[in-house]
């Protein structure tokens, strides 16, 4: 390079020096970078506007008549309406996710990662799981409607035309199942092979290796995935509407088991019902319910993030 510049004029030499020293400010580059950063801040701004807008009406409403809101269920009279049945219903649905979706999803993931050989059947099941994760939530609602509400009505809820807590809980569980499987698969995959080989080396069977070596190491990841899928189930509305979440009716006496075959409701369906009403008092109530729902979901997600940060290990 130097050799070439020797023959050039003084002015050209000066130009080259300036070009190479890189002092020239890159205006369009900086603008571009700021534009990109702006997209992230726009996302943040939307979040803040959403939270502020909801809180503005929700906090005064809760402060005003919090006891009544948390103490009563659905009513068509705004003064009597509350979110109690929705809250309990959502907790019942969480029980379903824990009892049905988690064991099944973790079991399926263990088979796919630990037992299955790379055959055509395995690959088919894997593709199938991935596609199930992409199926819109409302299609799970249609599945629930056809199978639980109509086909299995005598078992699911004979007295309520099949529109029971059992139908809602099972539908939600099916919906989050692929998410549980995929996150668990990832957690299992992160456990190094050598851990398993050490177990096999001392003569343990596959299940013994999984139980006492793989699962303990994968537990944080599995737990995080499970918690995240619960957050997802908490906010889902469309499938519940399809299987007939009846706003406001929930048999709360005797806990989950007693209300299995009875009508059910959940917090998001209650919000949907209140949003659809024309009276402004119901809009305030919807805001209050939304603040509670968002609070619950953020709390669950925060738990997942803390779990991940606390127990994450690098190999």
């Amino acid at each position: 390079m130097l050799g070439r510049t020797v023959g050039l004029t003084e002015a050209a030499r000066e130009q080259v020096r300036r070009e190479l020293s890189g002092r020239r400010s890159d205006v369009s580059g900086t603008v571009f970078k700021l534009l990109l950063l702006l997209t992230l801040f726009l996302a943040l701004a939307i979040l803040i506007v959403l939270l502020v807008d909801v809180s503005q009406t929700a906090i005064p409403t809760i402060a005003d008549r919090g006891g009544q809101i948390f103490g009563s269920g659905y009513s068509s009279l705004p003064a009597n309406a509350g979110i109690k049945t929705g809250l309990i219903g959502s907790l019942y649905l969480m029980v379903f996710v824990v009892v049905v979706a988690l064991p099944m999803g973790i079991g399926a993931a263990i088979y796919m990662e630990e037992y299955a050989k790379d055959t055509r059947v395995t690959r088919f099941i894997n593709t199938n799981i991935r596609n199930l994760a992409g199926v819109p939530a409302i299609v799970y609602g249609i599945l629930g409607l056809a199978v639980f509400v109509v086909l299995l009505q005598p078992v699911i809820g004979p007295g309520v035309e099949g529109r029971s807590l059992l139908a809602g809980g099972l539908t939600i569980s099916l919906m989050v199942l692929p998410i549980v499987i995929i996150t668990t698969q990832e957690a299992l995959r992160a456990v190094p092979r050598s851990i398993r080989e050490a177990g096999f080396g001392v003569g343990a069977t596959r299940w013994e290796v999984i139980r006492s070596h793989v699962l303990p190491y994968a537990a944080p990841g599995v737990l995080t995935g499970s918690v995240l899928s619960m957050a997802r189930a908490l906010g889902e509305t469309a499938p519940l509407i399809m299987v007939g979440a009846v706003t406001g009716f929930l048999a709360t006496e005797g806990g989950v088991l007693a209300s299995l075959q009875q009508h059910f409701t959940a917090l998001p369906t209650l919000i949907f019902a209140y949003v659809k009403k024309p009276q402004p008092e119901f809009q305030d109530l919807a805001s209050a319910a939304i603040l509670v729902l968002i609070g619950m979901i953020f709390l669950v997600n925060l738990t997942a993030i803390l779990l991940r940060n606390r127990y994450e290990r690098k190999w």
Binding site: D26, L37, L44, L50, T205, R206, G235, A238
Partner: protein, 315 residues
């Protein structure tokens, strides 16, 4: 057991090394349980397809086929114009992608190419939090903030509160984190050797991002956008709350008017306003629309997976 092996080294047989029979039995049971859990995911898929097709066939047998291409979607008046709900779905998804493409890709590019690890740790949770906002809440937000403060402000107050544009923008916000996350993965997978070569030639960060990283990640970016469209098509609650068209809608291509999408049509068939059971074609029509929705999203998801796999092969 180890002691047994060491003391009887001379007369050791295969039977001694085989392990206790109870452990083998346990191993087989566990394996069978995990396998049935994995197989269950296939059963869910079969059940989804079977219930959709069963209902759709029922619908097609009952309906007067000429009403499938008529003036509007009014199930109670036996008008099932498919192009009405298709148009609504396409308009909402288009608007959603107009919002989500710049936001999602911009955020992905910033996170992948510009953000330092410390900034990432603060910026990434913004997207994750946005992703966790339930769709009912986003629907409420569309109705309360986006429609009056954005759409009506810019397009005049003669635009109805319930309109496709407000719903589309809200769907776009909801889809943004997904687009950003998939696109960022793709950009992250671009080997740093390519970037270093570009920098070595004296290219600026912007040139490297736009001319090197984006083209190299183009299949992953395409996959992200297709996945975004698929999610937008399947989004239900926002449209059910904010797009109008409860009970039915005339064929409409104006995004500033209310309209009916496929998902909203399904929910309104299953809930209050349009709940119609009995022998008519209205009730089974929800399975028909569900089948359309399922086929459409599945095709998009498979296409997107194709693009993702292409990235993996290249690097």
């Amino acid at each position: 057991m180890e002691q047994m092996v060491t003391t009887r080294m001379d007369g050791l047989t295969l039977a001694d090394l085989a392990g206790a029979r109870s452990r083998h039995r346990r191993e087989r049971t566990m394996r069978a349980m995990f396998f049935s859990a994995a197989l269950f995911s296939v059963i869910i898929s079969i059940a989804i397809v079977a219930s959709l097709i069963g209902g759709a066939v029922d619908f097609l047998a009952k309906v007067d086929l000429s009403t499938l291409w008529s003036s509007g979607w009014f199930p109670r008046r036996n008008l099932f114009d498919v192009k009405t709900i298709l148009a609504g779905t396409i308009i909402v998804s288009l608007i959603a992608m107009i919002v989500a493409t710049p936001l999602g890709l911009g955020a992905a590019l910033y996170l992948s190419e510009y953000a330092r690890p410390r900034a990432r740790r603060f910026l990434k949770p913004i997207l994750e939090t946005l992703a966790s906002v339930p769709s009912v809440v986003m629907g409420f937000f569309a109705l309360r903030v986006i429609s009056p403060d954005l759409v009506q402000r810019f397009f005049g107050s003669d635009v109805p509160v319930f309109n496709l544009t407000a719903a589309g923008i809200a769907v776009g916000i909801l889809v943004t984190p997904l687009v950003a996350s998939v696109a960022e993965d793709a950009m992250h997978a671009v080997p740093s050797a390519l970037r270093e070569a570009s920098f070595g030639l004296g290219a600026r960060p912007r040139t490297t991002s736009v001319r090197i990283v984006m083209p190299a990640a183009v299949s992953g970016i395409t996959a992200a956008l297709i996945l975004g469209i698929s999610r937008a098509i399947g989004e239900t609650m926002i449209v059910a709350i904010a797009a109008g068209g409860t009970g039915g809608s005339l064929f409409n291509l104006d995004p500033l008017q209310g309209g009916q999408t496929m998902t909203a049509a399904i929910t309104s068939l299953a809930t209050g306003s349009d709940q119609v059971r009995g022998s008519g074609p209205a009730y089974p029509s929800l399975f028909f629309v569900g089948l359309l929705l399922f086929v459409l999203t599945l095709a998009l998801n498979l296409l997107s997976e194709r693009f993702v796999r292409r990235v993996r092969k290249e690097y």
